[in-house]
Symmetry: C2
Subunit: 226 residues, 2 copies
């Protein structure tokens, strides 16, 4: 457990930028930075929650055990807080978080974090903004899963990675077919078939996990029209 000097950290969250030097010192004494590789579990569902988790770099999937199989709720790109709702809504994690790329995480003591909220209105305001944005993102997800059919869901997920995560029409999918199925709420087999289909229709170029979006407008249309 190293003690990174938060004061000199150059990947501070918007909220942490509002902390004064003294508070940053306190933060540095109540934080531990950890590296995770793909597939490594960062936080575990149902485990007691004593930390706020700040994803400093990397990519993380949020998932829970559904009645049948795992459900991936969300993909978070750094920089981003993870457990704000759990920390302040309940003190047990309601989901697991697993790294899907090399990821650096800061575990911040909940009490310390709570103190900052009480002491520093600007900090609190920023956290509230973050939580607001996060919840809006969840809404989009819910809609996407609710009323689209399988092709639309896959299209949506691919556009999400292209636009939100990698900022490019060519990328390596950080998920297996099964995981993509868990994210979109369909079966692995359907995912496969849709990939084959998109590849044949020259909408995508698929080589394993290497994806290139060839016809973005059409993919967008498929995503929107369900």
């Amino acid at each position: 457990m190293r003690n990174p000097v938060c004061k000199f950290c150059d990947i501070k969250s918007q909220a942490a930028l509002k902390l004064n030097d003294c508070q940053l010192d306190v933060l540095g004494n109540n934080i531990s930075q950890v590296q995770f590789g793909p597939g490594e579990i960062i936080i575990k569902q149902d485990a007691p929650n004593k930390s706020v988790v700040y994803v400093k770099s990397g990519l993380v999937k949020i998932h829970i055990e559904g009645p049948i199989r795992e459900k991936i709720l969300n993909i978070f790109k750094a920089p981003s807080y993870l457990c704000l709702h759990s920390t302040f809504g309940d003190n047990v994690n309601h989901f697991s978080a697993t790294a899907i790329e090399k990821t650096t995480v800061c575990f911040i003591d909940s009490i310390t974090f709570g103190n900052f909220i009480h002491e520093n209105g600007d900090f609190a305001y920023q956290i509230i903004q973050d939580m607001g944005k996060g919840e809006l993102k969840n809404f989009h997800n819910l809609i996407n899963n609710a009323q689209k059919q399988n092709m639309g869901r896959v299209a949506d997920a691919l556009l999400f990675f292209a636009k939100e995560i990698y900022g490019s029409n060519s990328f390596t999918l950080p998920l297996s077919r099964q995981e993509l199925a868990d994210l979109t709420g369909i079966t692995r087999e359907s995912t496969s078939r849709i990939f084959t289909n998109f590849n044949n229709e020259k909408i995508l170029n698929v080589k394993g996990r290497k994806i290139t979006i060839l016809n973005a407008p059409l993919l967008k249309q498929i995503s929107v029209n369900g």
Copy 2:
């Protein structure tokens, strides 16, 4: 637009209880209380958002226009804040809110509300807790909609009204069949059929919107097993 004296309001939110007398006076001058009947729209999707909405009494549905039909995201019982995410995540409403019973709402000026967060750490902390709890509730919803089949979804919705909203196994459903379908993400026809089925199996007694749960354990089991 009346000017209710917040100081003497006896249905204060947990957060408002943290405000001092002076702040309560400010609140009173920047708030307007409005009554809504069932079906009346409280806030509208895509409209600019200038207020935080506090539901003082009543019952509200949160809904958005999906690609095909309306999707009901959530049912909120008073006391509860509504637009925290919209206010602090974006300044346009990402959803509509409609009263489904007689409902009293306080519209609080966003700037005033934001000032309280900056000034009063206890207030901010309480709001963050509220947002956390709200988001956890959303998670439950997402799971419910993701991996259950129709009977399980309807069972889940009915148990939600019985336990969370009315605290009784006998209640009048505040939604039409279509709305219940929009909440559970299935069709109106399927909802009808499931009601008939549950009624025949003596799991429910259904008379229009008047519902009595006769076999709660079985309903629970159906809800859990999908």
